[in-house]
Amino acid sequence: MILTDYTLQIVSLGSALLGIISGILGSFAVIRKESLLGDAISHSALPGIALAFLMTQSKKTEILLLGALISGLLSTFIILSIVKYSRIKFDSALALILSVFFGGGIVLLTYIQKIPNANQAGLEKFIFGQASTFLKRDIEIMGILGIVLIALVLIFWKEFKIVSFDRDYAESLGFSSQRVNGLLFIMIVTAIIIGLQTVGVILMSAMLTAPAVAARQWTNKLSVMVVLSALFGAISGVIGTILSSLVSKLPTGPMIVIVISIIVIFSLCFAPNRGLIWKYFRDRKKQRTINEDQVLVNLYHLAMNHEDLNHSHNISIIKPDKSMTAKSAKELTKKLESLGSRGLAKKDYFNKWAITEKGLEYVENYFKKEEL
């Protein structure tokens, strides 16, 4: 029944579109270490929305979003200028402009409230987002903008890739990296503006950052990352929407953010190669070989001192340790067993150990490597 509900279909479609768009452009923002820019821009869009309403008295989505786009771009421009013309760092400029613009937006909203006949109801939805108010027209606007953005990404793929990874190299190649950067900024701002209606200004930064961060864990290739990021964005959009409709009084925006955050945590833990779980096992294995190597080196020195390769030693001699407990003795035996199975050490009938020819060679190679 839920799947045939018209409103839900519209809302899920909208959230999915949002996830795809912010997933794709978020990838670039994350690579360029500009993910917090999303936070600043989304807050800065508020005065634009209020001004657009004040000037046109219209609540049409496209007009409000145009206002948001202009003030988002203006704030980006100001942030970049502050960084360029003063010693103020990027993060301070972000925080400053974010609070000033948002404060301005609030001033305008309270001003609108006082104007007689101006029905401002519905403007606040941009602060927290209200996907449930989606209309079919909104989806169409999102769809068209989405297609334009994706087409632009495809057309300028190579340029975007170069300016994102290596600005200096881009400069040296001779194409105007400033213009490409500008275009990419405009596109990122557009993606943020599109998301405002669904998740609101505060949570939009998560939509820009999280899908891309999750995707990054699974691949080292930008193209794969962008596709995965769009996929994660779409999945979280749809699941978040469905969850919020299944349970009463669950807001859509925060649910979407929670779902995408779970995807991020899962990716951080389980993604092959980069994932924390794999890293943990890798580190443990590495630690074990290092420990084993140490034991083998002890055996090597004992063999050298006795001038007899086959002279076997008791474990308390192999690793002299005053406080040798039953547990550490067991661990040492385990390491020796492991060395034995690798053919580097051998055990005689009295549970005494000696190094093998192969072990000797291994240790000597090891020292040679160290000298290099």
Binding site: D39, S99, Y111, A206, T209, Q217, P254, I258, V264
Partner: protein
């Protein structure tokens, strides 16, 4: 005391209290942490509320401050995995915690007065209604005392640990050598930031907390190089922003917190443009001056290189030199006039020549540039 007066006093206290830890956030490049913390303390308040079932309990403040520190901790933990860059770590942690808070509020606390709008925006106009009473005697708005207390804590913290804060901020390696832990100071600072944010956001909202914490120190940063004067200036600027913002708000009858944030922006903009040492006007004119100076040197090197050579007439000819330097005509004219005024060059038979002092100057600056490498 009139409510108007009280509101302005509260604003000034909040502004100064916020600017104290704010200075160090700005200098340590952690400004966006203020944004994260001001949002996530909401979760601390919500959880605290469900544990004690009261909105006025001091336990809420403890919970909120703790959540601020947890935010910092989680961000750093995420950052330490090296899988996520620092900015992305902030961008993931705080929306998640904030989302959880919103979900809990909308699901369970809709009957309680815990309204997300007021968290973000605050309502300074209501602050004077909340009175502080001692033995039944009204001694002023409660916020004056709560924020006053926080202001004193912050002041003591900055005064007592001034040296430590300074060293950790500018040279954390040295701090380790000197034997005190940078991370201890770091977390103490973050606790102070959280407590301040919790205390302030009730009356002024989280957005104004950011404006006071970052806006005023950043403005002061454009004026001074000295840490002590930066701290004092930030407090003064914050107080000024608060008072001006209140005047603007009552003039237009709009949101008080909003117009204080706007005032922070206006004052910043004025300082950014007109500051005598680092203002935009100074920087632009300095850069222009440097450009002209450098161009003058290049021109003189060019003339010196071709002095007395066969191609001098062509290379240094007043009508032909433009083609060799590839400058635009207006710029070239400006440089030539400039150098002629300083008597570094003169024109003879339509060829630009160096004067004696010009030649010496060219050689000297050439050597300076070469030895610079």
């Amino acid at each position: 005391m009139s409510p108007q007066m009280e509101i302005q006093i509260i604003a000034v206290i909040v502004a100064v209290a916020c600017s104290l830890p704010g200075v160090f956030l700005v200098l340590r490049k952690m400004s966006m942490m203020s944004d994260a913390i001001t949002h996530t303390i909401l979760l601390g308040i919500v959880i605290g509320f469900f544990m004690v079932n009261s909105l006025t309990s001091p336990f809420l403040i403890v919970g909120a401050a703790l959540m601020g520190v947890i935010t910092v901790f989680l961000t750093e933990m995420l950052n330490n995995t090296k899988l996520v860059s620092e900015d992305s770590a902030i961008g993931i942690v705080f929306p998640l915690l904030f989302s959880i808070a919103i979900v809990i509020i909308s699901r369970y606390a809709s009957s309680v007065h815990l309204d997300t709008d007021s968290v973000l925006l605050g309502e300074l106009a209501f602050a004077p209604f909340n009175r502080m009473k001692v033995f039944g005697v009204d001694i002023g708005a409660k916020a004056i005392y709560s924020m006053g207390g926080i202001l004193i804590i912050n002041l003591l913290f900055v005064i007592i640990f001034f040296k430590e804060l300074k060293i950790v901020t500018f040279d954390s390696a040295l701090a380790t050598v000197l034997g005190f832990s940078p991370s201890l100071i770091h977390y103490s600072l973050m606790t102070i930031v959280s407590i301040t944010a919790v205390g302030a956001f009730e009356s002024v909202g989280s957005i104004l907390v950011i404006a006071f914490m970052i806006g005023s120190p950043v403005t002061a940063y454009l004026i001074t190089d000295n840490l002590k004067s930066m701290i004092v200036l930030s407090g003064l600027i914050g107080g000024l922003n608060g008072i001006l913002g209140y005047q603007l708000a009552s003039l237009l009858d709009v949101s008080i917190a909003g117009s204080m944030a706007v005032m922070t922006g206006v004052v910043f903009l004025l300082v950014f443009i007109f500051s005598p040492s680092r203002g935009l006007l100074t920087i632009v004119s300095r850069r222009k001056r440097q450009k002209i100076e450098f161009a003058g040197k290049s021109l003189m090197f060019h003339i010196y290189n071709h002095e007395g050579k066969e191609d001098e007439a062509l290379e240094s000819g007043i009508y032909t030199i433009r083609g060799h330097l590839q400058w635009n005509e207006k710029f070239l004219k400006l440089i030539i006039e400039e150098l002629k005024d300083k008597e570094k060059i003169y024109i003879k038979d339509d060829i630009i020549k160096l004067t004696k002092s010009g030649r010496e100057y060219a050689i000297k600056s050439y050597e300076e540039i070469v030895s610079g490498f």
